[in-house]
Symmetry: C2
Subunit: 331 residues, 2 copies
DNA sequence: AGACCGTAAGAAATCGGTTTCGTCAATACC
DNA sequence: GGTATTGACGAAACCGATTTCTTACGGTCT
């Protein structure tokens, strides 16, 4: 682990000059050569920790996501990484598990590690961001909003819920249920509001409050909710799930019950990852996960570069792939 | 961003004493109280960068994986994270895209960031690890081996390939093909060797070298290979895929061709993520991805703690879920 | 009482870069 | 030719914690 002092000694110059060479400041070509040669010999790599202590900032950005095993968030992470890499930044990925304590812990780390900026998919709406914001660290919220006045990139979740529900009615289904996530989570809540809006207008039969099921937003949650729906006295003939994993769970239950999608309508808000069978029969509202990531990263890069305009919120739209779903003649 | 000096001034003690309080060294209870109060008032958090520069090490470990969008690796990452968290370490996730240059870049960063250790799923067998190893940084290879004498955690890939192939023959299939990954990748290569071993013993018809297809190991690779297999003059009646994503691709093509699994045997080395339909008809050789992660992390923690025994290699076994797959009577 | 010991705590060195400040020499301008 | 200006570059301060070295003090042992 050679240091700048050793390089300086070998090259016969001062440490300051070595530093200048590596930062492209004005140095005579003569000494540049000497320093480069010495650095080559010693396999010198500048110590980022020391540099960071002095500069009070690093080329690292933190990305906090609730669930690293959800393909939506990995696609988002991919987007962030691609964009960050372009600007010479590396991404540190942290898994918060939707646990506010873990989130706070990672935020503290990001700040005390002097990271250049933070992209956060907030675990809850009332996380403790005051700490970070007051430190003036650039931060961008993604996917979910915060109670703070910071940059944000969102999806129009209401519209996504509306689109999914409309697609099912358009295909001819008439009793459209909804599997929504837990009550506290903004994204799935907005999407289920979209569902409700369409359903009251386009005519689910009245009195079916039980068509809205709340579940945890993982595969097992989708399974449980779908089971409940099928067991209702008057089961629905179609369902909207407000995220990808619950969609997987719902489809699993349908399959196990011997029901195949055109027979029962399924619309998923989010992309069904790695589907193996019959994807065409399903309506998907594609969320621009990767684009969400690149956009958030771009905003963050601007802030890091010193942009001080007031906080912006960018809203991206989802796009629909209508299931090629003729409703069965005998309903 | 208050510093230890400000805390010291407010508490009326020296910076050294503040440091001692925060590190649990002997200080009178009187001053401990003074310091804690002052720290409380100033919302003091020790600057990790400074601490790290001094200590030459941090509580951060780097995890380098080839593909963050592959559920196998995210499960592995989850395992690493869980174990690391227990010991108070945080995990930095880096995506190498199987690109040796990116890998080298991230390794350099890990070293010059003074990270405590590295867990690496190597992009290629001949990556440039000399750099890191010579620096004496603790490092553990996972999933794939390196040419270097370092700790490693692997799966018995040969046995996994054998198990998958045997399962298909046991179920009554007689022409078992194999979709393998690219030639350079150790894991899928070993698995396809397992396939070959069984096939030559249990009797694929001779002369079917074209039953072994190489493809990129992503979904589209599996799709392409499966198409090729179906178009053969004498197509196979079953297939082994040597990883999860190619399995997804193969199943997609079968589905699009109107062929459903019990009719055509499918065994996948790896877990099919988020399957929606008919999972029971498929043989899966479950790879202990998460366990791989926790094991690697445990080994790394031991090394970080100062363990200097010779390098070990731990080999984990895969477990089979035999597809409930009666071979169709009319073959 | 005097030598000895252990503990608490401050002063200062240290980690490895970056940056300011000042020096010196070379070029520019009148 | 003499003064102003510019540019290269070394010395030293600095970022914020940790740790060694020292000093001072209270108590113990002979």
């Amino acid at each position: 682990m050679s240091t700048i002092y050793e390089v300086a000694a070998l090259a016969g110059v001062s440490p300051a000059t070595v530093s200048r060479v590596f930062n492209g400041l004005s140095v005579s070509s003569e000494k540049i050569r000497l320093v480069r040669d010495a650095a080559e010999v010693l396999k010198f790599t500048p110590n980022r920790t020391a540099r960071r202590l002095r500069n009070q900032s690093s080329e690292l950005i933190a990305l906090l996501i609730p669930d690293i095993e959800n393909p939506f968030f990995t696609a988002l992470a991919r987007g962030v990484e691609d964009r960050a890499q372009q600007s010479g930044y590396s991404v540190v990925l942290c898994n918060t598990d939707d646990d506010p304590d873990k989130e706070t812990n990672y935020l503290d780390i990001a700040v005390s590690e002097n990271m250049a900026g933070i992209i956060l998919a907030p675990a809850s709406a009332d996380g403790d961001l005051a700490h970070v914001v007051s430190r003036g660290r650039p931060m961008v919220a993604v996917d979910r909003s915060t109670g703070f006045d910071i940059d944000a990139v969102m999806v129009d979740n209401r519209a996504a819920g509306i689109a999914a529900t409309n697609a099912l009615f358009d295909a001819g289904y008439s009793r459209v249920a909804c599997i929504a996530g837990p009550v506290g989570i903004e994204t799935t809540e907005e999407r289920s509001l979209g569902w409700r809006q369409v359903v009251t207008r386009r005519g689910n039969p009245a009195g079916h409050d039980d068509y809205l099921q709340h579940a945890n937003y993982r595969v097992d949650g989708g399974r449980a909710a779908m089971r409940t729906l099928l067991d209702l006295p008057t089961p629905p003939d179609a369902v909207v799930t407000t995220n990808n994993l619950m969609g997987v769970g719902a489809l699993q239950i349908l399959s196990e019950a011997g029901i195949t999608p055109p027979e029962f309508g399924v619309a998923v808000v989010g992309d069904l990852p790695f589907t193996t069978l019959l994807p065409d029969a399903i309506t998907q509202v594609h969320l621009p996960a990767r684009h969400l990531g690149t956009t958030a990263a771009s905003m963050l890069m601007e802030r890091i570069a010193g942009d001080t305009q007031p906080a912006r919120t960018i809203v991206l739209r989802a796009s629909v792939t209508q299931g090629a779903t003729p409703v069965p003649t005998a309903r």
